[in-house]
């Protein structure tokens, strides 16, 4: 009897867990869709901007923007983008593992973290963190993007860092997300997206207000912001994709477990009935 009760309560627990994971999967799916829409929405802006920048920069000649400066010496800053929360499969682990490997090879690197999981990991290991951002997701507001942008501009321009690299999860598809390392600064003009064809700027054609330098200055810094924005959104999409898969398999496992437990429950119940019958028959036989 005790065994039957036990199995019954286990079935109930697993059922509850299954319901929770199913709900989490649905939430992740909805958020993923929203984040993807935002990536698509931000794309025309980024491409347009890169186009204009490319065109203008080619007219700049010798004068190079401080964010385009290529240096052979100086420190490297590594920005690690993870999620604030777990329960998304190997999403955080992949990023952290790569970050850790990189830091071991390049111990001089200055670390910045976005997301709670990455911060917790490195804090536990007493790795100094220069700056951390928490609670960036799921909103990814443009204000936060600008704040991050300002911070790394200071590192690069005032503290003369050699480069700024980002480790984030690139969103390939709903089922495939890849931890990627990308150089954020210095900006390499040849790597800009867009082919420059959508724009027809030719020298002397345009009037500039206030002047070309000022425009390029704001442009480059805005471009940097769009890059950070994109990486954050990709990372968030990936997180939701990973969470969706993780929750899907959790729901499936819960379903399988329920089937197994139900079978066990039925067996136990049958065994008890059989035993009771045997007792009754035995008792009746003893009376005769």
């Amino acid at each position: 009897m005790a065994q039957i009760k036990e199995i019954k309560s286990r079935i109930k627990t697993v059922k509850n867990i299954g319901q929770i994971t199913k709900a989490m999967k649905m939430v992740a799916t909805a958020r993923l869709k929203k984040a993807q829409e935002r990536i698509l929405g931000a794309r025309p802006y980024a491409i347009r901007m890169a186009d204009v920048m490319k065109n203008l920069a080619s007219k700049m000649g010798e004068e190079v923007h401080p964010l385009l400066a290529v240096r052979n010496e100086g420190k490297t800053a590594l920005i690690v983008i993870t999620a604030d929360r777990g329960l998304c499969g190997s999403f955080n682990v992949n990023i952290i593992r790569q970050a850790n490997a990189y830091l071991r090879e390049n111990p001089d690197t200055v670390l910045l973290t976005i997301g709670k999981k990455g911060r917790d990991f490195f804090r536990r290991r007493n790795v100094p963190i220069r700056k951390e951002w928490l609670g960036v997701f799921p909103n990814v507001s443009y204000d936060t993007v600008l704040e991050i942008r300002d911070e790394i501009e200071v590192l690069f321009v005032q503290e003369k860092f050699k480069n700024v690299i980002v480790l984030f999860t690139e969103f390939k598809s709903v089922i495939s997300q890849v931890a990627t390392m990308d150089t954020l600064l210095p900006i390499r003009l040849e790597n800009l997206p867009g082919d420059g064809q959508t724009l027809t700027i030719t020298a002397g054609d345009y009037e500039f207000e206030p002047d070309l330098d000022t425009i390029l200055n704001t442009l480059v810094s805005q471009y940097l912001a769009t890059q950070i924005h994109r990486m954050l959104l990709e990372s968030f999409s990936s997180e939701m994709g990973a969470k969706r898969s993780a929750m899907e398999s959790a729901s499936k496992n819960a379903g399988e477990m329920i089937t197994r437990l139900t079978l066990e429950f039925n067996r136990a119940r049958q065994a008890m009935i059989t035993k009771e019958l045997a007792e009754i028959v035995g008792g009746a036989a003893a009376l005769e």
């Binding site: 929405g41 802006y45 054609d205 500039f208 206030p210 924005h229």
Partner: protein
């Protein structure tokens, strides 16, 4: 010669707008300026302010949070950090944000980023100004 031209507003966080309009007034970095069709080619920075659009004789007002504009004879492309149509602006929130930014600037407390707060202040002032302009126009 057509009197209208294409206006496109793009921002990283909102869907882009594409419209045929007859004139726009933009908050340029060096002061407001108006654009009609067949304007000279121009690239200008924008500061937080109001984008005034005349379409089919009716004016529409947008808040834009800085960025830059590319003017061509047949099109105007506004790349804004943020934009909102006047009727979508939350006046209460903007007033509150404006007040908060002002208080933070006045407090001169440590950890307050002056640049950031000034930026926030300018943005919210521009938001409220946009609403005012839209109201004044409707009367």
């Amino acid at each position: 010669m057509s009197k209208t031209f294409k206006l496109q507003v793009v921002a990283p966080d909102s869907p882009s707008v594409m419209e045929d309009v007859t004139s726009v007034i933009l908050p340029g970095g060096d002061g407001e300026f108006g654009v009609l069709a067949h304007h000279m080619r121009l690239i200008s920075t924008l500061k937080p302010g109001t984008l005034e659009v005349t379409k089919d004789g009716v004016k529409e007002f947008y808040f834009i949070a800085g960025g830059y504009v590319e003017v061509n004879p047949t099109s105007v492309i506004v790349l804004a950090e943020e934009y909102e149509k006047s009727d979508k602006i939350d006046v209460e929130r903007s007033t509150l944000s404006k007040k908060q930014a002002e208080e933070k600037l006045a407090s001169k407390a440590e950890g307050v980023s002056i640049v950031k707060e000034k930026h926030a202040l300018a943005r919210n002032e521009a938001r409220l100004q946009t609403v005012e302009k839209a109201k004044a126009y409707k009367k």
